[in-house]
């Protein structure tokens, strides 16, 4: 038929002239790579609106961003240890208020279960402790646990589980609103734990180092 211009030759199903190319063969090259990442634009964008309102909103926006970071709703991810403790970090520490939601408005499952850290519930706390991401004092804790299991019993157990509880707490966010003094104690202990290399369980609590050695010493020190 008239449409077939011969085998192997491409025939267009539509009128090529309508698209804008003449009957010749000069079609534009096929592009083989993706378009450039930042193509040049012929038309530059319109400058931004400026005015009192816009400036105020801009300042507001930046302020809001900063304020949000300080709110108790901003849950921080646990940071890795800094290489050097900086002096000015002390002045830049932000103290966040504790926020307690209104439990009546939330489903019951939202309430944190293991609230009591002082109670003798070692199993639950240990499970929770193992679940949360542990820091590098994990080995220390494990060792402590083993020693405690063989060791003094309830009091040290409590302390062990207190330590785990306080670890959880410190990981979950800044909580400087210390309600009880005991928590303050835990925090200090933990700080001490981090800063020196000695295993805390070396001296088990309840033991009196001075008294023991005095009792057992037969020879004088040189």
């Amino acid at each position: 038929m008239a449409g077939n211009k011969g085998r192997g030759r491409a025939a267009y199903t539509f009128n090529i002239e309508a698209v804008g190319f003449s009957k010749g063969e000069k079609l534009p090259d096929v592009v083989l790579k993706p378009p450039p990442l930042f193509p040049d634009t012929d038309y530059k964008p319109v400058p931004l609106k400026t005015g009192e309102g816009e400036e105020y909103m801009l300042a507001l926006k930046q302020e809001l961003r900063e304020t949000m970071k300080r709110m108790p709703y901003f849950i921080e991810t646990p940071e890795e240890r800094q290489d050097i403790e900086r002096y000015s970090k002390r002045y830049m520490k932000v103290y966040k208020e504790e926020w307690i939601p209104d439990w009546r408005r939330l489903p019951r499952e939202m309430m944190p279960r293991n609230k009591c850290k002082k109670g003798p519930k070692p199993k639950k706390a240990k499970d929770a402790g193992k679940g949360t991401p542990l820091t590098n004092t994990e080995d220390v804790l494990k060792k402590m646990e083993e020693l405690e299991k063989r060791g003094d019993g309830e009091k040290s157990d409590e302390e062990n589980e207190e330590k785990e509880g306080s670890k959880e707490k410190s990981k979950e966010g800044d909580d400087d609103d210390d309600d009880d003094a005991a928590e303050q104690e835990e925090y200090d202990e933990e700080e001490q734990e981090e800063e020196n290399d000695y295993i805390n369980s070396y001296f088990e609590d309840g033991d009196d180092f001075g008294a023991d050695s005095d009792d057992n010493m037969d020879e004088a020190t040189y």
Binding site: F14, L58, M68
Partner: protein
């Protein structure tokens, strides 16, 4: 939810609430409604952290929960509500223009905290205002309460659904989650409180604040033993009402541009009179009697003529104007001419475009195809023969405003996500420098507090060298530009979203 929207939500959540909340929130947006354990399992976060994140999200009205059968509670995220976080500065600024600083701070506190009781809001705002006042003056609670009541009357703040008060106790165990109800009438009802007191100035180690009797202080400390009179009644900002206000503003300014000032005033009055009586998504306002205008149609003759503002038409023309200006800025004024032509003629052939627009054929073709490829236009085929042969088919160019608006909206989401990412990248690049300048500022501040000489202060300031200062300046300028762009793209998003919502409601 499109990928672009999810990405934007993720960036917003991360900036405002941190990574843990972001992970949970994005997961919920992606997968829909899920119970607690599944969330913890799928995201790989501990149950404790998931609980905390969900508490935060529910507090800010970003996630809602529902009790399903067998007592399982499922949580669902509202993606569109997360995107509203972009608009917070606009809400706050609008309140400032309407109700001055007091109103501004009230709305700001409500937005920052999600929901609050009225007494908590009043106290916080009074404290903040007292900080900014001169020494010796304090802000009275009554003034703040008045502004709060005015905001509630004009529906800018509304009550949250509350736990129903059950007189009788359930025979069985209490339900796993409370079902919150709200009565339409009560939504703007302000509880009768007598809040007496003044704002407190926050002093680090002072015992008596400016002129306040000591007896009053224990009552308003954070751990107060007294029961709060409006316990359980929480308020939130009514975003729909703000949107209504923005829409009215946009319409009024459009009318002022097209016609003169007086017509815009008339439209403004009409809108204001119907502010509370119309729901936010009604296509027509309540009929009133006034003069005639373009967006205004006549809907009856009683009372000297009842007129109605055709909101849908107004929004449609605003959206069209946005599209036109985008085409103009991207492709040039000739393209814009072609675009307007196709809009006007609804369906038009390529040959006719060349004739009507008076543009040479080659250029016209080029521009048409460019717009077609960017999806501003579409082709409508009209076959002459049943076999749809291309050489014997009419191809008509047409603009479908709804789909073009959707496309543009999607692009806006992408561009804001890009802006935020670029801003974060810029900040991260210069993190070291920023931290250094912050440290220097902290040191200077502490030295000034302890009293230091001028020479010492100067020495510390010189720790930041001149090129570093310049770098900081450039960084600040760039970040400001990016932030301002975000705010303006959000305005476009608002227009397009309103138009799309209005059109969908009609169908």
């Amino acid at each position: 939810m499109t990928q672009a929207e999810i990405k934007l939500c993720s960036l917003l959540l991360q900036e405002h609430f941190g990574e843990i909340v972001e992970k949970i929130g994005v997961h919920l947006i992606r997968t829909g409604s899920q119970p607690l354990r599944v969330i913890a399992h799928d995201t790989g976060t501990s149950l404790d952290q998931v609980k905390k994140a969900l508490c935060v999200l529910v507090q800010h009205n970003l996630v809602s929960y529902q009790v399903h059968k067998r007592g399982v509670v499922e949580y669902e995220a509202q993606c569109s509500r997360v995107l509203r976080m972009l608009r917070y500065p606009r809400y706050i600024y609008t309140t400032k223009t309407l109700y001055s600083d007091t109103g501004e701070l009230i709305v700001e506190e409500l937005l920052l905290n999600g929901k609050l009781t009225m007494s908590a809001v009043v106290k916080k705002v009074a404290d903040r205002l007292t900080e900014t006042m001169e020494d010796g003056k304090t802000m009275d609670y009554a003034e703040v309460s008045n502004t709060f009541v005015r905001l509630a009357d004009t529906h800018f703040v509304q009550r949250c659904p509350s736990v129903p008060t059950t007189e009788n106790s359930d025979p069985g165990p209490p339900p796993p989650a409370p079902t919150l109800v709200i009565n339409e009438k009560d939504m703007y009802l302000v509880p009768k409180l007598s809040l007496i007191g003044k704002g407190k100035r926050r002093r680090s180690s002072d015992e008596d604040a400016a002129g306040e009797p000591k007896a009053k202080r224990p009552k308003y400390t954070t751990d107060n033993k007294e029961p709060i009179p409006d316990d359980g009644i929480y308020w939130q900002a009514n975003l729909d009402r703000f949107h209504q206000h923005f829409r009215d503003q946009a319409i009024v300014s459009a009318v002022a541009n097209r016609m003169d000032q007086t017509s815009s005033e008339i439209v403004r009055t009409m809108l204001r009179m119907s502010e509370i009586t119309t729901s936010s998504s009604a296509p027509f306002t309540q009929p009133l009697s006034s003069n005639e205008l373009e967006f205004v149609g006549k809907s009856g003759d009683s009372g000297g003529g009842m007129y109605v503002i055709n909101l849908h038409k107004a929004l449609a023309s605003l959206a069209t104007a946005t599209l036109e200006s985008v085409v103009q800025e991207r492709f040039g004024s000739r393209c814009a001419r072609i675009f307007r032509l196709v809009l006007q003629k609804k369906h038009i052939e390529q040959k006719q475009v060349e004739d009507f627009a008076m543009i040479p054929a080659k250029e016209a073709k080029d521009m048409l195809y460019k717009m077609l490829s960017e999806n501003f236009m579409s082709l409508q085929e009209i076959p002459k023969t049943p076999d749809h042969a291309p050489s014997r088919t009419f191809y008509l160019y047409t603009v479908n405003i709804l789909s073009a608006a959707r496309m543009l909206l999607h692009r806006c989401y992408k561009s804001i996500a890009n802006l935020i990412e670029r801003r974060q990248f810029e900040t991260k690049e210069n993190k070291r420098l920023l931290e250094k300048s912050q440290r220097v500022e902290a040191i200077i501040a502490s030295m000034q507090a302890t009293g230091a000489e001028e020479a010492q202060l100067q020495e510390i300031e010189e720790m930041i060298t001149a090129p570093e200062r310049q770098q900081l300046e450039t960084l600040k300028r760039n970040v400001n530009k990016l932030d301002a762009s975000e705010i303006q793209v959000d305005e476009t998003i608002f227009l397009l979203e309103s138009y799309i919502e209005c059109t969908m409601k009609r169908q």
